[in-house]
């Protein structure tokens, strides 16, 4: 089914060129978002590793409490 856009409340079908452009942007965004998520997951893991190292000498309950605050 052809894509459409809404301009000031009016439904307008996309031209074939516009549709190709929109679908290409969606694909590019999928890759961009996946890459960003991967980078954020890496940062989070690194932060967790550092926090664990800092709190290593504490009792488990204390460690968990402070870790929750820091993370």
């Amino acid at each position: 089914m052809a894509l459409h856009k809404m301009i000031n409340g009016v439904k307008v079908d996309l031209t074939p060129a516009e549709e190709r452009s929109v679908r290409a942007e969606w694909e590019a965004n999928k890759i961009k978002i996946a890459k960003k998520k991967e980078e954020k997951a890496k940062l989070k893991a690194e932060k967790e590793r550092v926090v664990e190292k800092l709190l290593a000498g504490l009792e488990p309950e204390e460690r968990e409490l402070i870790k929750n605050k820091l993370m």
């Binding site: 856009k5 000031n8 999928k30 978002i33």
Partner: protein
């Protein structure tokens, strides 16, 4: 016989009010609707013109989107210096989406998407109390909602977003600024509140707006209002 509102409620018409006078007992006043709403009795009257109070805030356009690739508002006019968009029950067709905003300076023929065209920041708080800030000093669009990790927009029942976006002086020669506030249930059904802002990093006048999802179509009700300059 005692003449008061309790023992002798004898107004001459429906919708009357009992109002005190400088001397003598209170008298019935009549409410009259018209270009203004008048309240008057035998001691005089006053007119409250609600039209005057409301005329600087106008509904410009209403959009009901269902599977649209984008929602755009074009022809932003210098009649207004501030625009306000109400988002009601907005939902992506795909799960785990991010909602974006771009601007145009040629009335919607093209939308600016350069790598450093926009700056934005936002802070989301979920129902577990976790606060998650996000932002960018140079981006291809303003990220309105869903950019926070694990708090993307969902497409299940009730996973909708409502809120508003304010656009300040888009036709002025200074950088156009934006504020937004949203409440939504994310892709996990968790409640989120999000507040943020951003700017189009250019002095060019903004005369059209494009709201869209990152990887699919958009649904919901959008209303554009203008505050007169």
């Amino acid at each position: 016989m005692t003449k008061n509102a309790w023992d002798s409620p004898l107004p001459t018409a429906n919708g009357q009010l009992l109002i005190g006078q400088d001397s003598g007992p209170p008298a019935w006043a009549t409410l009259t609707a018209g270009t203004g709403t008048s309240i008057s009795n035998t001691a005089g009257g006053a007119t409250i013109n609600f039209d005057d109070a409301l005329q600087d805030f106008e509904l410009i356009a209403t959009v009901t989107a269902s599977g649209a690739s984008e929602v755009t508002f074009t022809g932003l006019s210098s009649t207004y210096d501030t625009f306000w968009i109400s988002f009601q029950g907005v939902q992506p067709t795909n799960d785990a989406e991010i909602m974006y905003l771009r601007t145009s300076t040629d009335n919607g023929s093209t939308y600016d998407s350069g790598a450093s065209d926009y700056a934005w920041s936002s802070s989301g708080t979920n129902d577990g109390g976790t606060i998650d800030p996000e932002g960018s000093s140079a981006d291809t669009q303003i990220s309105l909602a869903g950019d926070q990790s694990s708090e993307e927009l969902g497409n299940s029942t009730n996973e909708t977003l409502s809120g508003n976006l304010t656009i300040y002086n888009p036709l002025d020669t200074q950088w156009t600024k934006f504020n937004f506030n949203f409440t939504y249930l994310d892709l996990s059904g968790d409640s989120n509140s999000l507040t943020g802002g951003g700017a189009r990093l250019s002095t060019a006048d903004v005369d059209a707006l494009r709201i869209f999802m990152a990887t699919g179509t958009i649904n919901g009700l959008f209303k554009l209002y203008g505050f007169k300059a």
